[in-house]
């Protein structure tokens, strides 16, 4: 059954009451059945005006009209001294009267990070236009103080609107007074961390082998000088006697020096001390006896003279 619309009701929700009467049997009429009907409409967004002005300025600034279905050609630069005002009109197609819709948002999307910040446009009761103000100084924290190029879009929609729309209207370059970092989510940090290799301490520089060898030779030279000078002075071993004491002493002294060499190469302190005690006592006793013999010899030769 076709319904001819005599009047053109506006968009919205309606309750239609149906009644059927005057029917022949076996049909029984019914009165007062209600069905919910929604009438949609198509909207148009027009008169989109953007103006940029200084914060302190109180007079109405000049505004730019955004071309229909297009974008403002130039990028609007705003820093924390300035503010932006946006107004637009939502109306039904074919009817210039301004209407209100459920969703009238202004969305700003950052060019690189993709972060979105959405503002709600308010309906000015006097002009019936939607308006939105963006004060760069006070809105910094909404943006996380991330400066850069933002795309500005209008999102206009309603449940009874057929053609809800998203309309990019301008590009803004916002420069905030502080510089913020784009927000990082904790879950983006949950990945492998950079590898660390320990940098070992560089050992001290050592002289080259040639230098060490040269000095080794130099250090050994005084011993040779000693021998040469002794020969020149006429040193002799005339008083040497092969008595056990003398031999014992010299062998003992040699043994102590040999023990020191062994300690240097492979022994530890404790075994060395043990050996040293034994050898030391032997050497001491031998030395004592040898010196007594020498002293006795000297007195004998002094007496004989």
């Amino acid at each position: 059954m076709d319904m001819q619309q005599k009047s053109n009701p506006g968009k919205g929700y309606y309750v239609v009451q149906l009644s059927a009467s005057g029917l022949t049997a076996p049909y029984v009429g019914i009165t007062g059945t209600q069905i919910q009907v929604k009438i949609n409409a198509e909207i148009q967004v027009t008169d989109v005006d953007i103006s940029v002005s200084e914060r302190e300025q109180s007079s109405t600034p000049r505004s730019e009209r955004v071309p229909a279905n297009g974008m403002l050609p130039n990028v609007l630069k705003l820093d924390h001294h300035q503010k932006l005002a946006l107004t637009f009109k939502v109306s039904q197609k074919g009817n210039a009267a301004a209407i209100a819709v459920h969703q009238a948002f202004v969305r700003l999307e950052h060019g690189t990070s993709g972060e979105e910040i959405i503002y709600m446009a308010e309906l000015d009761p006097s002009t019936k236009l939607y308006k939105m103000d963006l004060d760069v100084l006070s809105s910094g924290k909404n943006f996380g103080f991330v400066s850069g190029e933002y795309k500005m879009e209008l999102i206009v929609g309603d449940a009874v609107v057929e053609n809800s729309l998203v309309w990019p209207i301008a590009r803004l370059n916002l420069q905030f007074s502080e510089q913020g970092e784009p927000a990082r989510r904790f879950r983006d940090e949950l990945r492998a961390k950079p590898e660390i290799r320990h940098v070992f301490r560089v050992p001290e520089a050592r002289p080259s082998k040639a230098v060490s060898s040269a000095f080794t030779v130099l250090v050994a030279v005084p011993l040779l000088v000693l021998l040469v000078l002794w020969m020149k002075l006429g040193a002799n071993l005339g008083g040497f006697s092969f008595s056990p004491a003398t031999l014992g002493f010299h062998i003992g002294l040699g043994a102590i020096i040999g023990l020191l060499y062994c300690y240097w190469t492979h022994l530890d302190m404790f075994t060395t001390l043990r050996y040293l005690t034994i050898v030391g006592i032997v050497t001491f006793v031998a030395a004592n006896r040898m010196l007594r013999q020498k002293a006795a010899q000297r007195t004998k030769s002094a007496k004989s003279d």
Partner: protein
């Protein structure tokens, strides 16, 4: 024996792999029929479901100090007071003790569900609100643009949580929206709404800024607590219904029609994740020793070669198998990490070899594996690193030869001098002449 402190966080209460006990609380028992496909999928995977009405006085989670259930499914968004001895507090305790919870909300959400969510860091919108999207609704929407078609691209990129749903069909959603603090490190945004969506009461004009606008609106949120208990919040109870599973999806003005929504695939994958069938890891044996040896030494010395190996297993299809991870890292830490290395999988263990730093002290071999959707593994073994003993230094250094030769030439000189000094005899002629 080295003092080794072994700290491992698994936190699963009684993993009974066969027949995990699950309590399903519903507003009314007809939910059992309207969501039968979902429950059948759960049963077929071995979960033991117990259905109870949410205000049934006989509900009990604990008996004689033991938990009666491992998992909880709350499909009772409108409940105003739970029956039995449970309330929002007991359910939060359940999570604290390691229990997993799957919660579905709807626009007639009650206080207990909102309370549980806020304890987990998630904020539901008021009762009576819907997530509305005037540009992404299904053609079979009733008129208020609340039956949303969610793009699989808005899903979290974590295959372990959502399976292959990211490449699947669009998802139908009708329900209430959530927001979570982006600074919260534990909450995961599994499914976000599109930029044109917002959460508000569709019958009232917008007079204040909506609770959730644009991509900040979460449709599905998940949380893995620090004890590895898992909680998932889905804003729409209808998301799990047989109707939505079987329904065709066609976004208005987009033209493409899909014969079946992606709801069943996503619900199934989420359930697998929440009830700890997927993404569960555990640490097996941990071994450390010097290279070439088999057992750990009492203490390491600096600049030695150390070898560390750890066994990590993943629960796959009910069986523990070696985890095939590519980015498990070992840290050698003394307050700050000195060495951090990616471990290679050799056989059934992850192995790392490195040279112990030249700084001595008390270190820890630390494996801290924290990835989206997987249980958080933390294994720390404490060892001491000693400096070189006095006998372990370098000896007979060529640069020191002058000193060695100097000392020994002194000793040689002394030996020869003893001969000359003791046995020198004045020549006879000189004596007589004086």
């Amino acid at each position: 024996m080295a003092t080794s402190l072994f700290i491992a966080l698994f936190g699963i209460l009684g993993v009974a792999l066969a027949g995990q006990r699950t309590l399903v609380l519903v507003d009314n028992l007809s939910v059992r029929e309207t969501h039968s496909t979902f429950f059948r999928t759960l049963k077929s995977r071995g979960l033991e479901l117990t259905f109870k009405s949410a205000d049934d006085a006989s509900i009990a989670l604990v008996k004689y100090g033991e938990w009666l259930y491992d998992n909880l499914v709350l499909f009772s968004p409108s409940v105003s007071e739970f029956g039995g001895g449970i309330n929002a507090r007991t359910i939060v305790n359940f999570i604290d003790e390691g229990g997993n919870v799957l919660i579905a909300a709807s626009p007639d959400i009650g206080d207990p569900i909102k309370e549980i969510a806020s304890e987990c860091g998630i904020d539901f919108d008021e009762e009576g609100t819907y997530v509305i999207d005037h540009l992404n609704y299904d053609i079979s929407d009733e008129g208020k643009h609340t039956l949303l078609v969610a793009d699989p691209k808005d899903l979290l990129d974590a295959e372990i949580m959502i399976g292959a749903a990211r490449k699947g069909k669009p998802i139908l959603f009708r329900g209430v929206g959530m927001v979570a603090d982006p600074e919260n490190p534990l909450v995961l945004d599994v499914l976000r709404a599109s930029s044109t969506a917002y959460s508000f009461n569709p019958d009232k004009p917008i007079d204040e800024y909506p609770h959730a606008v644009g991509r900040k609106t979460l449709l599905i949120a998940a949380l893995q607590a620090r004890n590895n208990a898992r909680v998932t919040f889905v804003g729409s109870l209808d998301f799990f219904s047989d109707d939505f599973f079987a329904s065709a999806v066609q976004r208005v003005r987009a033209g493409l029609k899909d014969d079946r929504s992606g709801n069943e695939q996503l619900a199934s994958a989420l359930a697998q994740w929440v009830f700890k069938e997927k993404g569960v890891l555990r640490v097996g044996e941990v071994r450390h020793h010097r290279k070439g040896e088999q057992s750990p030494p009492a203490a390491y010395t600096i600049q030695e070669n150390a070898v560390f190996s750890i066994q990590i297993e993943e629960l796959k299809d009910g069986k523990w198998q070696t985890f095939n991870g590519k980015d498990v890292q070992l840290e050698f830490v003394r307050i700050d990490p000195f060495v951090r290395q990616t471990m290679t999988l050799k056989g059934d263990r992850f192995v790392a070899e490195f040279v112990i730093p030249d700084v001595y002290g008390v270190y820890q071999f630390r494996v801290d594996y924290n990835r989206v959707g997987y249980t958080h593994l933390l294994s720390a073994t404490q060892v001491s690193v000693h400096p070189l003993r006095h006998t372990e230094y370098e000896r007979f250094i060529p640069s020191a030869y002058p000193y060695y030769v100097g000392a020994f030439s002194m000793m040689a000189g002394l030996f020869l001098f003893s001969f000359v000094f003791l046995h020198y005899k004045e020549p006879a002629g000189k004596e007589k002449s004086q």
